[in-house]
Every structure is written in C-alpha cells, then in structure tokens.
Symmetry: C2
Subunit: 342 residues, 2 copies
C-alpha cells in the first residue's frame, strides 16, 4: 500500500506538506501543491482512513441499531438515514438486535466504532440507552419514547387518528373495537390514546372497547376476527360487553393484525359487515385495500441523520425533539358503502 511517506519522498516534500496539500489547498504554495497532487495521483495514493481517524479522533461514521430489517418499516428508515449520511460523508454501520443475546456488548462495541448512534424503536432496552447517555455517546432516538435529554424523532398519531375517526364516523360507524394491547408498548398505547381522544373529541355518541393481543402479527389478527365473530354468535369473550354484536369498526394497532383479521373475515364471508383499519401502510396493505396510517419512514431516518450531524459538529447542544406527521390513507376496507349489505 502506498502511504503518505511514499508520496512525500517521491514529491520531495515532507509528509506534513502532503497532508496539507491534500486537505487544505489554500495553505500550500500552488507549485508545491501541484507537485504533490500529481505525485499522489501517479502513485494512486488513497489516504488511510484509519490513520486519519486516529489522528483526528473521529470515526466519520455513525451506527444505526434496529430490531430487524424484514418488513419495510426499518429498512426505509435506514434508507432515509443513509442517503443523508452519504451526503455529508459519514459512513453507516448497522446492527440488528432481534434474537441477539448480547445486545449490550453488541451496542457498546458499535458505539466504540462510531461518532454517534441512532436507535430505532425498541431495538435497545431502556437501561442501555441510559448507560450510553451517561457515558457521553451521541444519540438519536427514532420512533421510541423520548428522553428529555436525548435528541429524538417520532411520528404524531394525533392528526391521523382524528382523520381516521372522522372518516369512520362519516361512514356511519358508532361502535369500535381497538385490537392491540395499549399496555404492551408505547406505540400501541400512543395509537390507542390518539384514537380514544379523537372519538371523545368528535362529539358523537360512541363506544370503543379493547381487544388485547400480545404479538401484532397476522395470526393474532385472525384470532381477533374469530373472537369478534364468536361474540355475535353468543359465545362471550371477556373483552366485550356481553350484549355486543360485531362492532361497526375495528381499528387495529398495525397492518399485520388488520390483514390477518381481514383475511379471516373474508373467509367467513363477513368482511362486508365491519370496517377495518390498520396502521403503518406496509406494502401488502395496498393490495388488500386496507385503510391505514402511513408513517414518513424515510423522513424519520433523514431527520435522525440531520439531528446527529448537528450534535457532532457542535452546531447545537440543547436536545431537540422532532415530531413528524402521519397521513391517513383511505382504501376500501374502512367503508361499508358499496359493499353487500348484511
């Protein structure tokens, strides 16, 4: 490998001059500079990042930690992050924590290779976040409950929940079931709260019960459908008023749940009797005609990148908390109009 010494010797200058000519052209005499550049070019000199980084005591890299990249959500956030990071010349390290036993080691190790860390959602347990904060790691939290002292970017459920509720009310819905356990995590709690409040604020006479599920996957969506269907046939399940029948609308905590539920309802020939909505807008939602709430995923990543840059270049020291808006996407699953009557 050719090093800065080779270039210096060949060009007949000191390594300091080579370094300067390459980094800050202004402080070197034009002829000297030309000579150095020519030599560097001829020898195909590529400065070692390692040497430079050690001298500068910075990595010019940031790490992104996420649970998983399956499913479009985090993948898109990472893309948004990477595109901004690339612009400012910062490399991106990634690390997935799902199913890993040694998350602590994994993340602290990564912290040692980066100038800062971006944490997506529940990728890292809270105590570890606090530890990183305490040890002075530059952090940005994405789509995760904010800590007053740490930069964060999240999405706001409020406006979409209001739009969603308005839409369902307009279609005639008055009784609602929320599928998902608000106690299971901040995301679900947030969505549930937003929908509840939107209902309360609507001024309409409505009612919403909760059908808790543990994992937000298709299987549980199907189970939820079964639970709802049984209610109408007299089998009581605890989550609902015993006198209930199928609700007018089922608001699911995420799309997978909604897709499973929709599939089961369709199999049972009951899909025309209930409005169904999801949350996230995964790709399959489009094909299933699922009304849902879209998160600005790439923008989440891009914003995180900008926040981290501001921290690292010292532009800003006070923590900032960005709140991005979500968007209601109306498709066919949320309306009874035009469907076969019950």
């Amino acid at each position: 490998m050719t090093t800065i010494r080779d270039v210096a010797r060949e060009a007949g200058v000191s390594i300091a001059t080579v370094s300067r000519a390459l980094r800050d052209p202004a402080i070197v005499k034009p002829d000297t500079r030309a000579k150095v550049l020519e030599t560097a070019e001829r020898l195909q000199f590529r400065p070692s990042h390692l040497g430079r980084q050690l001298a500068e005591r910075r990595h010019a890299a940031a790490g992104v930690v996420f649970p998983d990249l399956s499913g479009p959500y985090y993948a898109d956030v990472v893309m948004g992050y990477e595109s901004v990071a690339a612009e400012v010349g910062r490399s991106v390290l990634i690390s997935s924590t799902r199913g890993r036993a040694d998350v602590e080691k994994q993340v602290t190790d990564m912290a040692g290779r980066c100038d800062g860390l971006v944490i997506l959602g529940p990728a890292v347990p809270e105590p570890l976040v606090q530890h990183l904060k305490a040890t002075g790691t530059h952090l940005v939290l994405v789509a995760r409950p904010a800590d007053a002292g740490i930069d964060s970017v999240s999405t706001a459920a409020t406006s979409s929940a209001t739009a969603l509720v308005r839409h369902l009310l307009d279609d005639g819905a008055r009784t609602f079931v929320f599928v998902g356990d608000p106690a299971a995590g901040p995301d679900v709690a947030d969505r549930h709260a937003a929908v509840s409040q939107a209902l309360a604020a609507s001024g309409e006479q409505t009612r919403m019960s909760i059908l808790p599920v543990d994992d937000l996957d298709e299987t549980n969506g199907r189970r939820a459908a079964d639970a709802l269907l049984h209610d109408t046939t007299g089998t009581r399940t605890p989550h609902c008023d015993p006198s209930s029948t199928l609700p007018d609308a089922v608001v699911c905590a995420n799309d997978e749940l909604a897709l499973g539920l929709l599939a089961r309802l369709t199999e049972a020939g009951q899909e025309h009797r209930v409005r169904v909505t999801g949350w996230d807008d995964v790709m399959a939602a489009r094909w299933a005609g699922l009304t849902t709430v879209r998160q600005p995923m790439r923008e989440l990543g891009a914003t995180a990148a900008r926040l981290l840059e501001e921290q690292l270049d010292g532009t800003r020291t006070a923590p900032r908390h960005e709140l991005l808006d979500t968007e209601l996407v109306v498709r066919t699953s949320s309306t009874l109009l035009g469907k076969e009557p019950a």
Copy 2:
C-alpha cells in the same frame, strides 16, 4: 477517555502487559492478569478500535453495497449477511447506490474502510468491479453474473422454472407469454432462458412469446395486461403472433410486474381467463395469491458473509461460486381450476 496508558499506570505495569492480558490471557502471569483486568474493569476501559485497527492493519469490518433497501429483497439479504457477520465479530457498513452520481468515489471510499466488500446485484457497474478486483479488494458478488476470479453467490432458476412449467402444463396451459425483456439484464435473461428451456424439455407442444417491458414495475405490469387484452380484441401489438388471443399463461419476470398485471386483469374482469406467475415472492404476492418463485434471500447474505470470512482469514484462496436453489410457491393465480369459466 481512558486509554491503555491509564490502565497501565494504575495497575503498575507496562502498556504491553495490559494489551497482552486483555488479548491473550495465557501469556501473562495469573496475578498480573487479574490485577490488570480488575483495573481495566474499574476504570471502565474500552480499548479503542481505531488504535487497535491501525496497529493490526485490519478494519474488522465489511461493506455491503446494494441498489436500494426498499422492497424486501436486498433488505433480507443484508439481514442474512449481518447475522453471520455479527457472529464472527465483524462490523457491517452499508451503502446504497441508487440515484447516486458518484458511485465510484462512494465505493472506493468504502473499500478503504473495510477489509472486504459484498456487492449485491447491479449496485455497482462492472468496470468498477474489475477495478476493485485489480486493486486487490476482497470481494463477494451476490445475485450478479459471476466473474471467474471473484467469489460469488447466486440463485439457480433452473429447478424452479422446471417446476413452474410443469405446474402450468398440468393445469392445461400450452401458450405462454413471458413479460420482461431478456436483453435488459442478466436476471431477466436468466429467468427467461430457464423457462424457455423447461418448456422445450417438457416434450409438450408449446409456444412462448416475449412481451418486453423496460422497468419491472407495476405500471408496466398494467400496461402489459392492456397489451394482452388488446390483442384479443383485434388490435395488433408487435410482440405477438397476429392470430393470438389471450395466452394460457403469463410468466412475469418479477412479482411487481405480475401484481400490476393481475390487478389490471381483475379490473377488466378477465383474471379468470389467464394464469399468471411472478418471481421473487415479495410480501404482497402472498396477499394477491400470486404463484411465484422464492429466492433464499437471507441465505444469500449469510453465504456471502461466509465466503468473505474465508477470504479474509486466508482459509481459502481459490475463488468459489455458490449456487443456491429457489423454490416454487404455488398459490391461486397460476391455475384456472375452480375459477369462473371464460
């Protein structure tokens, strides 16, 4: 930051001893070692990766270059890669090339931060791959035409194409249209060739024409549907025998194409008249009931990681080319049985 010197001073030994105690316990006297470890622990010493890497002249990192992470394909490959890399303690850098003007700079820069590079699909133009090879960069090519001198992992279309053709023939199909331009890229060419050969080898009297499209997206899938439908109403399009009607089966070069085509056919009320298949098995394929060919995406990534490790630790010098098998996933789109007759 606490460095190796702090630990050495505090423990009353030399930095060499600290280094040894931490890396190779065996060559240090037990008491000394215990003292060092205790001190390191107490001072919360984390060895600087930068210092270590410069001394060892290795990055303990690999770079993965891909076109994009939208869509599940490359995201899953990256996940497969990352999980193996994490096991062997190698960090993963990522870089997306889609829409980037300075791919060469971007990739060579990344090469300078890594011990090796994994290139997914068409992320990097061939001349650049050759340049990297020439400059001695450790490389693994994934899902991309192989170079005899470079490690590679790809999937084989043959067995799935055979299964796909067998399946369609069994359902009664004899006339086929392949949607996609084999001249547009190696993937499509490969798939087309595999299907053609499977048809030829079937011993049946069949015919397959090509309906070329440039981008493999939904919009073009819809257009392809329109082209096929027009053929049946007398409007001639150049790709088909003038006497043709709707073919028995439409084999699409990827799922997006197939999904768009399927959607358009459904709108036109003609979905029961033709069998449709895709390729890739994206998530939406499941919801659309699309028969398709699944690639072992995570396994592609994991295999790439193993190949790169073998290169880097010198276990193996001769290039290896892995070929993973694909799998036919039969759903409803590929059969006319049970559908409304024409």
